[in-house]
Subunit: 372 residues, 2 copies
Amino acid sequence: MNALQVTYHIDTVEQDVVPHAESVLLEQTVETPADVAERDDFVREHMMGSIRDITPDPAGGFRVTFSLPLHIASTDPAQLLNVLFGNASLHEHVRLLDFDAPANLLGQYPGPRFGIGGLRERTGVPERPLTCSALKPVGLPIHDLAALCRTLAEGGIDVIKDDHYLADHSFCPFQERVQACQAAVDEAAGKTGRRALYVPSLSGTPEMIRRQAEQAQRLGVGAVMVAPMLTGLPFLHELTTRHLDVPVLAHPSFAGHGRILPEVLFGKLFRLFGADAVIFANFGGRFSYTRETCARMAGWMRRDWSGLPPALPVPAGGMSLARVPELVQFFGPDTMLLIGGSLLRAGHDLLAQTEAFVASVVRAALTHNGTA
Amino acid sequence: MNALQVTYHIDTVEQDVVPHAESVLLEQTVETPADVAERDDFVREHMMGSIRDITPDPAGGFRVTFSLPLHIASTDPAQLLNVLFGNASLHEHVRLLDFDAPANLLGQYPGPRFGIGGLRERTGVPERPLTCSALKPVGLPIHDLAALCRTLAEGGIDVIKDDHYLADHSFCPFQERVQACQAAVDEAAGKTGRRALYVPSLSGTPEMIRRQAEQAQRLGVGAVMVAPMLTGLPFLHELTTRHLDVPVLAHPSFAGHGRILPEVLFGKLFRLFGADAVIFANFGGRFSYTRETCARMAGWMRRDWSGLPPALPVPAGGMSLARVPELVQFFGPDTMLLIGGSLLRAGHDLLAQTEAFVASVVRAALTHNGTA
């Protein structure tokens, strides 16, 4: 297979599906009338792609699979996206359902540098699901965020991330905050003997983010968070291959690409471009993905794919302590459970609630192992 | 007004609209249960935002306007997007309809550095609509692309852009291509006395694009093209404020954000972050925007907005020579008409067809002035 295999959903009726598919094929390749493109031998032989399969979708419309020319997609990450869903994204009736590529293209992308194995090693959690919570709300002074961080770390949380609204604000500057929060997890480690990963959120233009990444790494953080759809997916690839020595937690902000199947966006593209752990909006919380979609997203992050290390699924978005057993049962051990707001609700009981969260994950993992 | 004013469409029924609006408000501000956020005085007073207006939408659902805290949005371009449509983009029932911000936030963004006035000056076209065509298909050798570029320039096209699939391919390397195409417009200028702007497409990670921008500017190009949704919107801002001395033409690839109103994405965000000219999928071509949407997109790019220079609307996507009079009538003179594939169809008649395109714009502009 020396082509990109890309599957779209095309919302059309049977008599129109072939002309529609042909126009999508032109759109995603030569973007020129076929008779113009075919004048040149090299273009005709190597750039035109082909329709591989058209199958009716039981829910309506058609699933159409194309072979698209690798030559166009393989120069850089932006071109890969361009060929997958560049102009096609502007067609209301087209959704990106899946893609795959031969090893010579995927081999250009190291994907997660740490992935599940590296995150387990960094947190010292070999088997059970990881736990995660968030420092928020934005607006708290650094002193309070650091105190929160210390309590969560003392309570045994594995990964403590900044809320994605924490940036380099004048009322809460990045460098001071990172320093204070990293000191808080260090201090807690002195007490408990286990060091939580503190994960600052990087935000801004690529230059600003590179500067923040340098500062954060100099201050000894265990990982960083970025929102790849805000900062640009190609920049995720650059960041992970050129500027970072620590794992990346990907935040889904701005990923409302309704017409890329979430499994493809979070399960494939975020992973391909180097996210080690991928936060996604879980079912039954504040967001609207179904159980099935979430199972598939997590599955796609972890499954074998051209030798790329698996990325760690991080279901999130309105999770609560009460749901831990259900979520562990559902996602299994290679998962990180992220509980933010509902944990913070505990107020003065935060340490106890945090410990309860951690204990609940440990218990649920044992039960899961027993039943697995 | 010292807050960000943001309007969403919320697809819900009357009895649920207030709780839905309240939950979107929390999502876009403190992302924490209200009782947790309200514990801190600074957070309660400065971070919570408010619901300003709820109006039934005649087409169903509700238009809900919020005041969102400027403090959170004002640190960097990624945070601005975060506050506008970060997590809200993940809610299937929410669409971003509009936003506005006080001058102290908008003042952080120079927007288009050249805009309509600068592009008119660079092309030497003071009043009529500009003309534009594209070098494609991808796969043509450099020699043929340069020949195409020379013919289009001799035919009088104002702006000649790379197809967005032209990248730094081994079969068509960036630097050689840019050099050859720039030489072609220079050569044509020697004949005609008018210099077309050759606009190479920049593609890749931010580092790769910065390198391409340097090369292109060193070779004397008149402008460059980027696809901000592929490369990341914050990078558009960085590129235009820190790395470029020439105008930027924005390409819509990957902008299938079905739930950001296209007027907001193309008309406001692309402009705010520095695009001088914005290509969009025009009605009646290969894409599905309506006449009304296109009129509003163009209108939003050009209208007064906090002192930002206007950006030049570039309707495109399956346009043809026959539609020039209609398009000039519809969009008026502060427009650039982009005809690619259908012009290239002319083959050996390309020079004549190009001249016909240019003449048609000149004629239509005179008629428009006559009737305006």
